[in-house]
């Protein structure tokens, strides 16, 4: 019974949503179910927040290695919670938005959270360089093709690429580096991406059918 009820709900809702695509009066059913999901997810956040606190308070209690990070986490958690819940420093009254400019919550978000997020995002620039270095080493034929394509695109996106091949007459303009870069992006690259997308679409259909028909149940915690 514990497994059959979720399986029945999955089958019923899955079939209903497929049918709703073809029945105009039911066209908003997907959005309605998304709304239900959002409501459930909001309540589930208490579980997540509770788990976060439990993990870090346990670390503090046991003085586990790196417990200093847990202090920062717990203090940050309660500080932001209090600032948002009690609207500390809000310019308006209690009905004003928690994210109103000048409020403690918004000030901390703008001056602490955003810079930290930007810092993490900025790491991407360095990681792209290191990953490119490994990927573009001409170890075999495929890697060499990748290297040449990447070089043309890199060059084609710079003014130097234009300068380098500006002498090519208009009748052969397709050979100018910026045009070659555009061709690589719009033809081989797009064709490859579309092939992957077709495969993904079919994979989603296949997996959805396995789930709706109850053949695939591992996501319900049933591996039998």
């Amino acid at each position: 019974m514990r497994r059959q009820v979720p399986l029945f709900i999955t089958f019923f809702v899955g079939t209903l949503l497929i049918v709703s695509v073809f029945i105009p009066p039911m066209e908003n059913l997907g959005e309605d179910f998304t709304l239900f999901f959002d409501i459930i997810a909001v309540f589930a956040f208490f579980l997540g927040g509770g788990n976060l606190l439990r993990v870090h308070l346990t670390k503090l209690y046991r003085k586990s290695p790196d417990w200093g990070f847990s202090v920062v986490t717990v203090v940050g958690f309660f500080l932001m919670l209090a600032a948002g819940l009690f609207k500390i420093g809000n310019p308006g009254d209690i009905s004003a938005s928690v994210t109103a400019e000048g409020s403690m919550f918004q000030t901390m978000f703008n001056n602490v959270v955003l810079p930290l997020q930007s810092t993490m995002y900025a790491l991407l620039a360095f990681f792209i360089a290191s990953a490119s270095y490994r990927a573009f080493r001409a170890k075999n034929r495929e890697a060499t093709i990748l290297l040449v394509a990447a070089f043309i695109i890199l060059l084609g996106r710079t003014p130097f690429g234009m300068m380098l091949t500006a002498w090519i007459p208009d009748s052969w303009s397709v050979l100018q580096v910026p045009n070659l870069a555009i061709w690589i992006m719009n033809s081989p690259n797009l064709a490859g991406q579309r092939a992957i997308l077709i495969g993904i679409g079919l994979g989603v259909v296949s997996m959805s059918l396995r789930i709706i028909l109850g053949i695939e149940r591992t996501y319900l915690g049933d591996d039998r």
């Binding site: 105009p24 009066p25 066209e27 079919l202 997996m207």
Partner: protein, 438 residues
Amino acid sequence: MPPAIVNFIAGQVGVQQLVVSGTSTTAQTPPSHPRAAFLVLLIIISFTISAIAQEPADTAAFDLPDERPAPPTSVVVTDFKYDAGNRVDITWVPSIDDQPELTLVDGYTVYRSANGGDYKLLDSLLPGISMYEDEEVTPDSVYTYYVATMSGKDTVQSVVTQEIRPEWELVNFDLAWLFVIAVIISGSIVWFIWRARAGADLFVRKIAGLDAVDEAIGRATEMGRPILFIPGILDMDDVQTIAGLTILGRVAKQIADYDTRIRMPVSRSLVMTAARETIKASYQVAGRPDAYSDDMVSYVTDEQFGYVAAVDGIMVREKPATIFLLGAFFAESLILAETGNSIGAIQIAGTARPAQLPFFIAACDFTLIGEELFAASAYLSGEPKQLGSLKGQDVGKGIAMLAIILGMVAVTMATAFEIDFFQMIADGLNQVFSTKAE
């Protein structure tokens, strides 16, 4: 000029009585002093001039009647086909004065009347726009519309449209071909599942990334280090997250068998609860329910880069031997994969986001590309009925390949040689594979 003011002025200069008639004001009794009369006349003239000066807009409106723009024409209202009776489309031909160089038309306003009631403003639109979709209608009302050209504060309205009652349709026949294709693909998947259940031998190609799962878990066991499983950063309403969890179920069973540790930081609360259930069930199936702990899965944060910082920290501190990155990833994909690479972990990644695949291919040992992510759970299970569903996908791929080749030939021939037959094939394929409502 108001009589009270005139009388007040007259009183000040010694005039007995003033009679105001129309716009001109004359004194019935001569002033006792000619200088006072001149002063009165001067004041009257100055008031008249100032009054004229204060009403330039009205005067201009009277003087320049031709500056009003023309109204929109051919305003037509049509019921949107194949909907729930909740949309009508209003189209019109823009005003002839709606030209960028004239700057006479500021835009259009659309008005609606329901069941013969007053006209209410629906929306204001920019110049050049000639269509409006009204999605605030119901099938139980009758509507009429008009569109007005805006020019400053002035509006010039079109004729009122004919009455319309939105209708709803039970079936969307525009999607008939989509239905047929869906039935063929779904039918073939179910057919192959049925054949596999009946014992038919079905060939499924090897997927290197999934064949390496055993080796990756074994390596972690030998090194005595944990296995890190990252299910992406989206919630349980995303099919990639579900695919990640189905793989987790298979992987967790092997981890339980090998008695290795698994660590799974997640960015969504619902994923946390679903992952715990999945791992718990796998440990039970492996006969090791005692080895399971809720601490294997922990919630970190919903914030994308906060999550990345936490996971990177775990990687650097705990140095897992194996990392699975299976689910929906965005900009964080390369940050996670490169950090994993830097600690020397075996990495098996998979996502259905084509933009992130190159990053995984560059930084990970094995990458499940697109459909392989969704096939992984069935592949790892080895169950005939699950493998049968993969075989069914091939029919869909066959249809796609056939349509692409046929379309390519048809469009090339129709364009190069202008042969109607090939143009007909190209149009037919376009109609079959287009899901846009006409």
